[in-house]
Symmetry: D2
Subunit: 346 residues, 4 copies
């Protein structure tokens, strides 16, 4: 094995990324070395690419970016029991400490020492990545790489949709980026009576319909409130799954929520915003759940179940393929709002 | 309207039923009078027909039998706000008191003063039945009568399947009488990863397959334990939905249950039986839930949601139709184990 | 019985109240007539007295005000089974419809047709009040009137504290008006490891300490964040019970909340306000519950249990007594921030 | 440090134990070496002492017995981050694998590869014990050794009592061995309205009263059913915490359970037994929970909270002290039914 590999790197504090030759990472006794087969681009990667305030405050250059990754285990440390060399794995991006009170009580998703690959430490837009063995989730060898690469992101959708009780309920999904699209599919698969979806991209509105939304609407151009009220006999929805982070969508979603309804919030807002606390939460006796990452590792088991049973079909999600070297084009495609997931191959 | 109607009556303490002319019931201020369009036969009705120990200890002849009923509201008391005359309704069979601590805390299904139509008071194998207005659940006018008549019984399936978390889980349904068959369909609809089913009737094993079971087995002739272990990679099932009441099925089901698994019990056993409490519940950290009737009225809303969304199709369930006068033939068919639901029309 | 009674009435749209002679109300078949033994003043009553925007938009003069009431049943309608004439009852102020989907699924506290006594219809600052029988909760005959009059308001505290899991947890109560004070006591009684409390009245800070707070702080003058961090080894609190409605308290409370924490919100804010959604809810994976009224009737059973076991002692709560005629003084006392509950006697 | 230590050993398959000199254990990179300050005797130890069927089928001699242990960390492996050398720790007896699906989903208490110290591998009735670092729970340095030694056993009580919702509920504890006694105290601390307790030892009945039981009864000599019905206004109890494993107690407990009640089962029965499934679980809509070990590590946090807040006082529990050499006397005392916990000191 060579000593060097190519990697997409944020080399200095500022916009853009560059392709570099960097050393192949070495592994700790509890880590595996993964030869990357594919990676995909997340909204978070766009923030890092563009170097917005959040990125500038958190990401320490130089760093290899990318956190949605699948590949093959090519080496493992002395203490690793699973996975085995040769296994085809998808990566959980949150490397957790296993010792804080959250980790020790089944809440690793809010571990106070979490380090995120591609954000806090080197990630997977590269030929190889070293990562804690427990973060490498074994896939069937024949799982299509376009599905394997999505596991991490799919887990956000699963975590969000499983947080509420959707069974025989009417559900509104606000925001149909890739996670929102997968959430539509999950909601259908676990018994939602009806799924309504909104986005501000026509492309994604159409995509939501293909993923199973009974009603997909343009958040601005379509009369969303009227359409949802009509579809629900004037009652509104039982559950809101908020994937956009847009204050206007949050407000619209809560307005359409029935009393006693449930809300799961994955979308990240651009900043603090004004909100009608009394009518949207207190008087309505709403149950509002912040969603962060994936339940470790329950969400992975749940997602696996949905895929293997055929209840959720992720194959339409990856709409564009690029070589790792073409990362600039790939990021531009992802920014356009006219794509599903964009996949990179080393 | 005439004063008298025909009805199937348990006239004296002993086996059998007879057709009689009886007065059309009068209604209280909070009741409706329903002209029966169809009724269906439940296992409980067989017990009453055969006059077993349970029936002899509870049912007070003379009494009109039958508790699975749909029909049209033809009159209503002065205090009734809903439903309206002309509405097509399905009946909840448990008439509850609304004043005991259970009723007052959303647990009407265990009301300590419940009176069951066709068991504790006159039922619906007749041309008319009087019942509390709140027990008459309005259907869409065009709902097929073969589906409307099943709502009550379907509610047992919904209550059982909704008691556990089936999402992305492997589920075993023991007992595929009509409620078990509907439970198979509900489990699929609300996200079970796989549904395995057992019964001692070949006819019902086949029926379970048609209702969506991934694996349907004869409880005695097929090697159930081996088949389920193979289907689950040796792990067993996450959830057991027990619909048979057979001690052997209960034992087999718990043996196949994974540690930390959930069990919902609707089946009624023939009597006390020996059970391996330690291994089946304590060491396994199982969660075991007794299921009685339907959540009033949450189960009805949930069942309605599943039917209207198309997630569950009940149309295959009614396999035999008889006129009310042919009740003896109808009961014989229901006893044969070679039927789905058997419907009676006045 | 005379035909007329004295009552405190909002006679016209505008500030203030007046004492009037009005007809003793007549009862419906499902109602009881209650001879008022005592009533107490709620924050809501202050809004009505002062005729703020909320009051002007909702309350229809002329109307008898007051919704915290206890008294004796002196008459009952023909259909009433319980309570009996002579029973000493406390009143639930929300008169619900029993027929909407919320009422029919054990969620009467969000009944879409709720009518609140003293707000939407005549209340209990009077000699008599007519109310649905199910709203009259029987007390032991010897329950002190100072405790009986608080049941309704106590139910808000019980509903809020029972919404989260407080067992062995560190809890912050923001806002120590009477409901907040009772919430401190309930939190202690159901196993909170520690209870911290804040208010902007020194009087109430002291009162909170007497009700069992481990640490009671002035929300502005004391360094609340430092004190709570110190008391919790830097970790913050597991649960926030928000009783103030003050945006600054809400922000402070969420800032002190641990990841994965629970929040129950009873306090009503003065209007929409800016909130750091990402850090306070989403990233933190918080669970936020809007609390409205009391669970009907589960909260009443729970509250009764706490009182009868001696786990909660409400006797310090009523700090001032007035005759009904002295209502102006009573309202002034309640507005001062230097009182617990203020009781009125007809 | 010497190479050898004294230890209480099951040397051959058969009744009895013997004191031996054995090598001080060596530690793995993820383990700590603990110098034992005290250990206590559990019912499980009695089974091993007496060499009953269970013991013969599971325990592999020669083995150092004992699993309730506290002591000081005197050495630690290279990979251990916490605890530190010098820490005063109590030990969790279940050494889990961290890699099976149960461990990976916050259910380590049902880890399929659990190894129990003193049962499956060397335990702590000795001068030293080696154990996985994560199993060593740091205590405050000044925690009395009589309390520190009970943490593991106390965890069974906490796990059981926290499994149900006891708040403002009436609770029956069947079986007042040491775990049952601690369960009585926990139930009180987390808001039970009333706690009733039974045992077949008068000594323990009295002890239960001292631990906070409102009503403590001899299971055979006292009219338990009548007394509990009288204490509950004829209603029975909301929750049953079954700590005895005696089929007669289980039957009595379920008979006294209200419809919709909750049951947590920690007691281990002598074998399969006959049970009235229909009336005790199905018709009653009971919720029955098998309890195994302690939630890892949630139960430890919960127990710590109860002790540090003073809500539970464990100091009366240890009633007898012996030197390690006096183990035969200690076991005889524990067998007598006339003791709380019996403590051994090396």
């Amino acid at each position: 094995m060579a000593d060097m590999m190519k990697a997409v790197v944020k080399s200095t504090a500022g916009p853009g990324l560059e392709m570099r030759e960097v050393p192949i990472p070495t592994i700790q006794p509890d880590e595996v070395l993964v030869k990357v087969r594919a990676a995909s681009i997340c909204g978070t990667d766009l923030h890092i690419y563009n170097w917005d305030n959040w990125a500038a405050s958190r990401v320490p250059p130089p760093i290899v970016v990318g956190h949605e990754v699948c590949g093959e285990v090519v080496d493992r440390g002395a203490m690793v029991k699973t996975p085995e060399v040769g296994d085809f794995v998808s990566l959980e991006s949150h490397v957790i400490c296993n010792t804080c009170p959250y980790c020790r009580t089944g809440q690793g998703h809010i571990c106070e020492n979490t380090r995120l690959i591609g954000v806090d430490r080197d990630g997977g837009f590269a030929e190889y990545i070293a990562i804690a063995a427990q973060n490498a989730w074994p896939n069937p060898p024949d799982l299509p790489v376009e599905i394997a690469v999505l596991q991490e992101n799919f887990g956000n959708a699963v975590h969000t949709a499983f947080a509420a009780d959707l069974r025989a309920k009417k559900v509104l999904v606000t925001g149909c980026g890739p996670v929102g699209l997968m959430t539509v599919a999950v909601a259908r698969a676990i018994g939602a009576r009806a799924v309504y979806a909104t986005d501000i991209s026509r492309y994604r509105v159409e995509f939501a319909r293909r993923m199973g939304a009974d009603l997909a609407m343009h958040a601005v151009d379509d009369p969303v409130v009227d359409l949802v009220r009509e579809a629900t006999d004037g009652e509104g929805v039982d559950v809101l799954l908020e994937m956009s982070g847009a204050p206007s969508a949050i407000d619209q979603g809560f307005s359409l929520l029935k009393p006693g309804g449930e809300v799961a919030l994955l979308g990240v807002a651009p900043g603090p915003f004004e909100f009608d606390w009394n009518h949207h939460i207190v008087f309505k006796a709403a149950r509002v759940l912040g969603i962060s990452g994936r339940r470790l590792w329950q969400t992975w088991y749940q997602g696996r179940g949905l895929i293997r049973s055929g209840a959720v079909d992720l194959s339409p999600l990856v709409t564009h393929h690029f070589k790792l070297e073409e990362f600039d084009q790939a990021f531009a495609t992802m920014s356009s709002g006219e794509s599903g997931k964009v996949m990179l191959t080393p």
